[in-house]
Subunit: 122 residues, 2 copies
DNA sequence: CAGTATCCCGCGTGATACTG
DNA sequence: CAGTATCACGCGGGATACTG
């Protein structure tokens, strides 16, 4: 039996940065691609309003999870990519995913079914 | 460089079960003790209303994170303890805690300071 | 194309009083 | 002691139109 210990202050902070309706999906895509433009991201994420997507990206930038790069010109080009801080979360996110798949497979399936098409990348 | 992969459906489910203002603290205490009575928990968690604490405990029971045991008699005695499913999250929670302490120490410190007294058990 | 401005609504959280 | 009933409020999320 593994005895794991933690305090809750850091846990609070970590969960706060991860909390947001679209953040898991955003992270998923950031982990998949080197960089991605806003509209590209917006197109592949169904049913989110532009305002909210911008909002969540803004929070994630504030929290240092991602890096926003604005290449000058017109029309504007803005690229988002995962940061080091964000990448450091990768294994933990994978473990959360694994935990859910193990202990709550039916709920995971529900989320899966509730979406038109979950990008299946192999 | 560790390449970690995850989909977001399970991540969504996992984060949903962890989302709640007092859940990190509740988990912390459940991991510390074998079992704990409601009022005991209520006393050591400052500034949470009884209703909300009950609410969050209720959700966590629904999600199978903890086990609620009601021992008959009067006045009633209700004990809460971590479940297997909940315990399986231990190492992940510890990693989230560690991540926050590494990458956002000042925010963690802020949370720490904003509380009268964070139970420091060693 | 990327971002802002408004207006809106439901839900998570909270204070307080009451009950078995 | 543990739990419920009410009432209230702010905030996250959403629809839509507009701007540089």
């Amino acid at each position: 039996m593994t005895q794991t210990q933690f305090r809750y202050c850091g846990l609070n902070v970590a969960l706060k940065t991860l909390t947001g309706k679209w953040k898991p999906m955003i992270l998923f895509h950031l982990f998949r691609t080197e960089e991605i433009r806003f509209n590209e991201l917006w197109r592949i994420i169904p049913k989110v309003s532009k305002k909210v997507l911008l909002q969540q990206l803004g929070q994630m930038e504030e929290d240092g999870l991602l890096i926003r790069e604005e290449r000058k010109g017109f029309p504007p080009e803005v690229y988002y990519r995962i940061s080091e801080k964000g990448r450091a979360l990768g294994s933990v996110l994978a473990q959360l995913e694994a935990w859910a798949n193990t202990y709550a497979p039916q709920q995971v399936q529900q989320v899966f079914d509730s979406e038109k098409h979950v990008p299946s990348f192999d």
